[in-house]
């Protein structure tokens, strides 16, 4: 069970959980998520889609980095950084359970 956390509080020990009330459609390995709460539509690429499907609240990002490390020939540090960035993006737009959406301050 994910605890409420701000996007900045998402670390490798965080176990992301996708919001269950989203409508998801998957085509050719790419998911399109529709958020009825704000009308937002989000399209995930194939890797993002697999990771999204893994976000059930039981796996930490650290564990997912190990998966990525087993598949991709890339150093774990880069994988961890990219995965963290991706997860925070999802959190920022309110797609993760317990992560309030975040609006950037006006520049």
């Amino acid at each position: 069970m994910s605890e409420a956390v701000d996007t900045e509080g998402i670390t490798l020990d965080y176990a992301p959980k996708r919001r269950e009330d989203l409508t998801a459609v998957e085509l050719d390995g790419e998911a399109v998520l529709y958020d009825a709460r704000d009308g937002g539509v989000h399209k995930l690429d194939p890797v993002a889609t697999v990771l999204w499907n893994s976000f059930d609240g039981s796996l930490t990002l650290r564990e997912l980095v190990l998966d990525l490390d087993a598949v991709f020939d890339r150093d774990a540090e880069t994988l961890a950084r990219d995965l963290l960035g991706y997860t925070r993006q999802l959190g920022a737009v309110g797609l993760l359970e317990g992560v309030p959406p975040h609006h950037k301050k006006k520049r």
Binding site: D28, G29, D38, G39, G40, V41, H42, K43, L44, D45, P46, V47, A48, T49, V50, L51, N53, S54, D67, L68, A70, V71, F72, D73, R74, T78, L79, D82, L83, G85, Y86, Q89, L90, A92, V93, H102, H103, K104, K106
Partner: protein
């Protein structure tokens, strides 16, 4: 009993291992499908509401804040008016200035479109409302307003008829400015025309 414990202790790790393999296989397949066996960070495309446009990856900043409401204009009633009327077959034009509370030279009417016939009508002769040619003290104004002059009515002698008019109500902040808006004249009787400005 022992069998149950043994079964529990062996099946859970086996299931976890299976899930792990499935996940890694899925990642591998996704990488193949996406042509991404060389690692590229997973990406999210945030499509705008209604999918009018797409924004890749950066966090949705949400709708822009509404613009601050424009300050309500302050109007100061009718400033001046001009109107065209006919007496004894002659077409006259008159211009009345509120600041002087009198008729002035009916040369032009800045800010607004002049009433029909303004260009060819005979000017009211001078600043006094007693100077309507041949008519004497026949033209007068009555006004209504609370501090400011929001409505002014001009009455002509019977037999004269007013045809068109236009005026300006000045607006602005604390003091008078050159901003204002046009006030049309309403012919309320054959010999009567009223100009009404917006109260604020």
């Amino acid at each position: 009993m022992d069998g149950e414990l043994l079964a529990d202790s062996t099946s859970a790790p086996a299931a976890q291992a299976g899930a792990l393999m499935n996940r890694r296989q899925a990642l591998y397949r996704a990488a193949v499908v996406g042509g991404a066996l060389v690692w590229a960070a997973p990406s999210v495309q945030h499509l705008a509401r209604g999918m009018a446009h797409a924004e890749v990856s950066p966090i949705d900043e949400g709708p822009p804040p509404p613009p601050p409401p424009a300050p309500a204009p302050q109007y100061h009633g009718v400033s001046y008016v001009g109107f065209v009327f006919t007496c004894e077959g002659v077409l006259y034009k008159a211009k009345w200035e509120r600041s002087a509370d009198t008729f002035v030279d009916a040369g032009n009417l800045p800010h607004c479109t002049a009433p029909a016939g303004w260009g060819t009508a005979v000017k009211l002769a001078g600043p006094s409302h007693k100077n309507v040619p041949g008519k004497g003290d026949i033209l007068f104004a009555t006004s209504f307003g609370d501090g400011e002059l929001y409505s002014v009515t001009f009455t002509l002698p019977a037999g004269c008829s007013v045809s068109d008019g236009a005026g300006v109500a000045m607006g602005g902040g604390g003091g008078r400015t050159d901003s204002g808006y046009c006030v049309g004249g309403t012919v309320t009787a054959p010999n009567e025309i009223t100009f009404t400005a917006e109260e604020s």
